[in-house]
């Protein structure tokens, strides 16, 4: 694995989107 691939734009963008999505999911999902 190329170490530097970790710091490419796609990596950051993907993680930003994933974090936003799971943060939103935590807000939106209700089981009560």
């Amino acid at each position: 694995m190329n170490k530097f691939r970790l710091f490419t734009m796609n990596w950051w963008l993907l993680h930003l989107v994933a974090i936003a999505f799971f943060f939103y999911l935590g807000h939106a999902v209700h089981f009560m």
């Binding site: 935590g26 807000h27 209700h30």
Partner: protein, 165 residues
């Protein structure tokens, strides 16, 4: 048909059957009118039945299938754990945590992950029985990488639940 194609088909069928069983179980035990959030279970179920097997079928999209399959298992784990916390058993005992929470369901869900992992590993690293297992545990595509993502995404989800009301 080669043995490789046959084994791959069996694993794909295993994913589809298990995901279909899971989807039907969700439809049976949690009607959408009573718990609207269960729609997440329906969407992930449909993705597991249609999109994941399609991505796993082609060499070019194999990695996407592997990541999507694992991420769906993580979403299911987090949401079912949340469901159990919201419907916690009346008495907290060892037996009630094992049998009256969604722990059994979460364990069944992870079999779908491990079938996908077997499929991915066989396709990526080959079927050579003498080939040693290589790679760093916490790096993609190994198990530690999934553990890091399960823990990380659980924290993000919990923060979203607690901070954004």
């Amino acid at each position: 048909m080669s043995n490789k194609t046959y084994v791959k088909s069996l694993l794909l069928i295993a994913i589809i059957t298990l995901a279909l069983g899971g989807l039907l179980l969700h439809i049976r035990i949690h009607p959408i009118v009573k718990i609207p959030s269960i729609v997440v279970g329906y969407i992930t179920g449909v993705l597991s039945i249609i999109v994941v097997p399609l991505l796993f079928s082609f060499k070019k999209t194999l990695s996407y299938g592997y990541v999507l399959n694992g991420m769906l298992a993580i979403i299911g784990t987090i949401l079912m754990a949340h469901f159990s916390i919201a419907h916690w058993p009346a008495q907290t005992t060892f037996a009630s945590i094992i049998l009256e929470t969604t722990l059994p369901d979460i364990l069944i869900l992870w079999t779908i992950f491990f079938i996908g992992k077997a499929l991915f590993d066989l396709e990526t690293f080959g079927y050579d029985p003498k080939k040693p297992k290589a790679g760093v545990t916490y790096r993609y595509p190994n198990m530690g990488w999934w553990l890091v993502h399960l823990v990380g995404l659980s924290i993000v989800y919990t923060l979203g639940n607690l901070l954004w009301r």
